[in-house]
């Protein structure tokens, strides 16, 4: 029996990672880059898109050739695919959004080692059909991106009074004594912000809390 492309089972692959199976807040993967690139929204958004593209297409490619990959060298094969995609993404960023690419610097290259990418390949793409793997990659990339954009929004707004580099906190506020919060720009605050998001998420979805 053939399954429709967007059956409810497949839609779940897309929507799950956005909340109840979020790679950052629930699986606690990909924290490192989430701390590093969330000072401003623009790099965070670009990073989120890059990771989504890499996860989705590496899932698709690995899933298509999964039956021909020898078990013992599968990690190397996965890495070759991921590395190729990352280099393509990196070159595209350098060609079209050079300033953002400079800001992201080494972190684009480090997508290769992003836990989410490898995690989805090992846990999902090696065992599932290409279309489902592709959706899973898209979903997880989007879940990662959602948190990245949320964190970077809070950090940029409170840290420098801007959104996407545009001044949003009015001058009159500064004249009356308002100041940007310097702590939001520092990396520890990214960790605390993610912590607060996790705290709120688990207060709403009680079954995410560990029973131990």
């Amino acid at each position: 029996m053939k399954e429709p492309l967007f059956s409810s089972r497949n839609i779940k692959l897309l929507s799950g990672p956005l909340n109840l199976n979020n790679p950052i807040t629930v699986q606690i993967l990909g924290i490192c880059s989430a701390l590093a690139v969330t000072v401003q929204m623009k790099p965070a958004l670009v990073m989120a898109l890059s990771v989504t593209v890499v996860t989705a297409f590496s899932n698709l490619i690995i899933s298509s050739i999964r039956n021909t990959i020898p078990q013992r060298i599968r990690i190397i094969v996965q890495l070759v695919v991921v590395a190729t995609l990352v280099i393509i993404v990196d070159q595209i960023l350098k060609a079209f959004v050079y300033d953002v690419s400079k800001k992201l610097s080494v972190f684009v290259g480090l997508i290769i080692t992003n836990c989410i990418v490898m995690g989805r390949l090992e846990a999902f793409a090696m065992a599932e059909k290409p279309w489902r793997s592709f959706l899973d990659g898209l979903g997880n990339g989007a879940g990662y991106g959602l948190i990245l954009v949320a964190v970077s929004f809070l950090r940029e707004f409170f840290g420098s009074g801007k959104i996407f580099g545009m001044q949003v906190v009015p001058r009159i506020m500064y004249e009356n004594g308002y100041q940007d919060n310097g702590l939001m720009i520092l990396p520890p605050m990214a960790l605390i912000t993610i912590g607060i998001i996790i705290w709120i998420q688990r207060s709403i979805n009680r079954d995410l809390i560990d029973k131990s």
């Binding site: 004594g177 308002y178 100041q179 919060n181 310097g182 702590l183 939001m184 605390i192 912590g195």
Partner: protein, 387 residues
């Protein structure tokens, strides 16, 4: 008094299970136990009867803080009139400082207690007295010119992140008051460093010629040793600085109260003092720059060193619990405080950072002290058995 009791008894059922305001039970309880001694007694298990409960502990600390607070208020006025070159009487000086300091205290208490109440309601536990001390410590370690909204934000951050996220009173890893200060230190550095932060009004008007709002620490950090006030001034506290930290005399009175009542650990205070003096001596011997040559006695008289080791390092929740651990913990607090301030030009004062750092290590120190004790006793038993 009687009528108040009767009134409370009358409205009590409404706050108990099934009552109209069931959800506000902990709020009611907080007010009731604040006004009257609770009539509940422990029913099972062996227990020790003692008049010393958490409320009594907290009240003692508050009493110990009062001398430093009152002096801080007077000194706020004194520094202000000094900077403007105005002669003013004692009461006028005190009144000026009182009006400057009071709003900071009010903001700290209102914001902190409001958050405590909200969390107590959500989690369904009692409102604890823990914030009474924190709420007074926060204003005392702030510069007097701090904008009130920053105090509010910092207090909220400290109570939510440093306390409630860890599970509330008694569960916190870090001293909440210090977290509030660290928050301002990193978030709004312009408000808590430099020469304009410490004397009231100096951020708006220029001082008269010859007056500097710089604290002894920033004089030391810029190697202008001749500008450090005399030991006498440092001891009595006629210097610019955070509201509660300037008078060493008032702090020592507070320390005496804490030690006599047994609330604060003299072991921590003593070993921190030794740690600070020891490192001071060590720097004296190295003497690589003028800052290192400052005598150890002056070192511990400057800045918030004494205030920190008396009121912050001894916090029973975040300090080491074992006796040996207290000595190690205290010594390192003192040693790191002086080390940070002398060796790191980015941080003019090291006491806050050193206590926060040692807060993290306190459980580890305790763990190894306990482990060592277990090993020692095991060894003894094994030897006895072999013999």
């Amino acid at each position: 008094m009687k009528s108040l009791r009767n009134y409370l008894d009358k409205i009590k059922p409404r706050f108990q299970k099934g009552g109209k305001f069931e959800k506000l039970q902990s709020t009611f309880e907080a007010f009731e136990t604040f006004l009257f001694v609770p009539n509940r007694v422990t029913t099972q298990g062996s227990h020790i009867r003692d008049a010393l409960d958490m409320k009594r502990t907290m009240s003692t600390v508050i009493v110990a803080l009062i001398p430093a607070l009152l002096f801080g208020m007077w000194n706020t006025g004194y520094q202000y009139y000094l900077s403007r070159g105005i002669e003013a009487g004692f009461w006028a000086t005190f009144w000026f400082g009182f009006l400057k300091v009071l709003p900071i205290i009010v903001v700290s208490y209102v914001v902190g207690l409001a958050i405590e109440f909200v969390f107590a309601q959500i989690r369904g536990h009692e409102v604890n007295e823990g914030f009474l001390v924190t709420g007074l410590l926060i204003p005392m370690i702030m510069p007097v010119n701090i904008p009130l909204w920053m105090v509010a934000v910092a207090t909220a951050f400290a109570v939510i992140i440093a306390k409630e996220a860890f599970g509330g009173t008694g569960m916190n890893v870090f001293n909440p008051a210090l977290v509030a200060r660290a928050f301002i230190f990193f978030a709004y550095p312009a408000q808590i460093t430099g020469e304009k932060a410490w004397v009231a009004g100096l951020n708006h008007h220029a001082a008269i010629e010859g007056f500097s709002g710089a604290t002894p620490l920033s004089q030391a950090a810029s190697f202008s040793l001749d500008k450090i006030p005399s030991l006498n001034d440092l001891f009595y506290g006629f210097i610019p600085g955070s509201i509660g930290e300037t008078s060493k005399l008032a702090i020592l009175i507070g320390a005496a109260i804490l030690i006599i009542t047994g609330i604060g650990s003299w072991k921590i205070m003593l070993s921190a003092l030794i740690g600070g003096l020891g490192i001071g001596f060590l720097f004296n011997m190295i003497g690589a720059n003028p800052y290192m040559e400052i005598s150890p006695l002056t070192q511990i008289m400057m800045g918030s060193f004494l205030f920190g080791i008396v009121f912050m390092a001894t916090d029973p929740v975040t300090a080491a619990q074992t006796d040996t651990g207290k000595y190690i913990y205290g010594f390192l607090v003192g040693a790191f405080a002086i080390t940070i301030r002398v060796l790191n030009p980015a941080y003019p004062e090291g006491t806050m950072l050193s206590i926060l750092l040692m807060n993290v290590f306190a459980p580890l120190i305790d763990h190894y002290v306990v482990e060592a004790n277990i090993r020692k006793r095991t060894k003894r038993t094994v030897q006895n058995v072999n013999a």
